[in-house]
Symmetry: C2
Subunit: 150 residues, 2 copies
């Protein structure tokens, strides 16, 4: 069903987290870290410092399985569909995080909002634009969890 | 520099666009289309209908080159760093779009905001959450272009 494609990391995350279990989805919003882009790609970072926020696409390199149903961190039952969660144990194991770009020093991006562990392979960097800001969002099962925790 | 990883599409985009040149970044916000998730992954869509917006990660399958500097659609000069744009001609050729989820019918997602061509391979679907909504964003060179077009 569809052709395989091959990806090669363009960089690596440096983070104070070494264990995914220590990463809390809300607290990590303020966690600082750096993204080292491999030197052969540095040229592609031109103009990035104009953007306050960027997307990081990365590889859940520690996950060795794929689940189609999963128990998200905050609740155990019922299981949720994997595509309705941000679980690592997903087809293709791609992670996505919006981070605040604080500073760029050559091939190093200093960012805030790191929810990846040290050594995580980076696959792409994209600017966060107006089209990515959506209002009046509905959050399905996540809203139920938030209501319960209040 | 970093291990290669292999990805397999989980679905395919059905779109009225057949030529990438017809896709306008602003007009496509209202373009309808469907995402067909291959049946072996249907179970992973459970609970997705609770979310108003989803991320689609997809493959720029028509691009055969990688540029590190690029001339975005709206302006020709100066060239911008590829990671400061959403150009297809990027390392790893991954596309990212936020779409509005209108309806789900089994393994078919009816969405609004399609900026992909017919037959585009889909790599992942993720829910759009509060963490993905950022305010006070700065848009670098894009802001200059918008100012000039006003």
């Amino acid at each position: 069903m569809g052709k395989t494609l091959k990806l090669t990391p363009i960089g690596v995350i440096h983070s104070s987290y070494t264990d995914p279990a220590d990463i809390h989805p809300l607290r990590s919003r303020f966690t600082k870290g750096t993204i080292e882009i491999f030197q052969e790609y540095t040229k592609g970072l031109k103009d990035i410092e104009g953007f306050s926020h960027i997307y990081v696409l990365w590889h859940f390199h520690l996950s060795e399985r794929v689940d189609l149903l999963t128990s998200p961190l905050m609740e155990l039952k019922p299981k949720r569909g994997t595509f309705a969660t941000r679980t690592p144990h997903r087809p293709n194991h791609i992670g996505l995080t919006v981070v605040r770009l604080v500073k760029r020093s050559k091939n190093i991006l200093h960012v805030k909002g790191v929810d990846m562990v040290e050594g995580t392979p980076v696959l792409d960097i994209k600017p966060y634009t107006r089209r990515d800001r959506r209002s009046h969002i509905r959050l399905g099962w996540l809203e139920e969890v938030e209501r319960r925790e209040r």
